[in-house]
């Protein structure tokens, strides 16, 4: 806002700008040590406020000269660039996240209850050594024993199933 005012006022005071250099120092406002410093060093310094305030017909104070606004705008520019870069990075990350986690079809799918998927009985890997004339008798004997054990176990299991007292799940007594 102030800058806008300053910009609009700058053309109205053409005489004020050229007088800003140190060639017209205000002796009354300068400290005693001021003359010791060379005039060349004072050139980049901003226009002293008393000078602007003493100008007749100017109700508003003079805006800082362009030399002062330069570092500010540079900083602002840097800040804007950084913000823009951050925004671009954030947008990129957001886009990547959205594209990688695109679960829309799943979200629209009907909700299904989680059921423990019963794994289909896989065929166990059987390590059968090659049956030769030398080991065929032993192999058949071992297999027969295995079958017998399994049959015995199956009978035991069937008996244990028969012995389950399912009446414990009756709700009549509750």
């Amino acid at each position: 806002m102030d800058q806008q005012q300053g910009d609009s006022q700058a053309p109205q005071q053409p005489s004020a700008q050229p007088t800003t250099p140190a060639s017209t120092p205000d002796a009354a406002t300068q400290p005693p040590a001021a003359p010791a410093t060379p005039p060349a060093t004072e050139t980049p310094s901003p226009t002293p406020p008393p000078m602007s305030s003493s100008l007749p017909g100017t109700g508003t104070p003079l805006t800082p000269p362009a030399t002062e606004a330069k570092p500010k705008s540079k900083g602002m520019l840097m800040a804007i660039i950084i913000i823009v870069v951050i925004l671009i990075i954030a947008a990129g990350v957001g886009y990547w996240y959205m594209s990688s986690h695109k679960a829309q079809p799943m979200a629209m799918a009907p909700q299904t209850t989680t059921v423990n998927k019963v794994v289909p009985p896989t065929t166990p890997t059987v390590a059968v050594t090659p049956v030769t004339a030398a080991n065929v008798d032993q192999t058949l004997n071992n297999t027969d024993s295995t079958v017998q054990q399994a049959v015995t176990q199956a009978n035991t299991d069937l008996n244990s199933i028969s012995n389950i007292n399912s009446s414990q799940d009756s709700t009549n007594s509750l």
Binding site: P121, P124, A133, T143, I161, S166, D169, T171
Partner: protein
Amino acid sequence: MKKIIYSITATLSFLGIILTQSALPAFAVDTAGGQKLINETSRIQNQATHAAEKQTNELQGIISRANSLITNRITTLNTLSTRIQNDNRLSTSEKSSLSSDIQTDISGLTALKTKIDADTDVTTARADEKQIITSYYVYAIFEPKMRLLITLNNLQTVSSNIQALVPQLQNLINTLKSQGGDVTQLQTVLTDVSTQLQTINTTLTSDITTVEGVSTTSSSGAETTFSKVREDISQIVRTDFAKIRTDFSQMRPLFKELITKKPSGTPSQAAPSQTVPSTTVASPSAAQ
């Protein structure tokens, strides 16, 4: 005139007295009536106290009974879990699947116990207690289902082991045949083994699917399914595997005979010491 006024006044006074007398009992608070009211109130209070005590006792009874029901079921499930873990015929995936089902029930029952313990009214506690049974049917469905699946999977493993043996035996028969041996009888027996295995596998696969489909939250139909599967298992065990065992018992001497008495006269691998050349080749008719 005065007389009339007096008589009217007297009549009105009389009527007023009568009305007052008749209305008083309604508003009267005599000491006997008050005591009655106090007694009645006290009686109602006592009744309420007794009812509250009774409800509290009933609630405690339900909670205690529910805890017992849950403990028994969890014990059964843990026993079942141990049985599965110790089974060396079940594959890792079968163990994992069955154990997972058991753990789901244990977790559910434990959560239900926590809820019942915190119940404050009889109606809710009673409803939760029923859930111990109706949501799990541990004894009526879950345990039989698990045990049947264990048995079916075990039998399937045995069947697969024999199935893997069949081609090996076939190779040996082919070898012996190529050496001039009469393998007709052996081949017949081995074919019978394959037939029995096919029947066994078909039945087991079908039964496993059926049992897995039984819901543990509804008791309807489960009993029939289990009964049928148990009959199938009995059939497999008593008939099909029995036949296979008989086939094995027939195969062993046949193999021995063919190996020890090779027509080519070469010593057999099984009995290197028996170098007697087979001069008497069994005729096909004799082999059969």
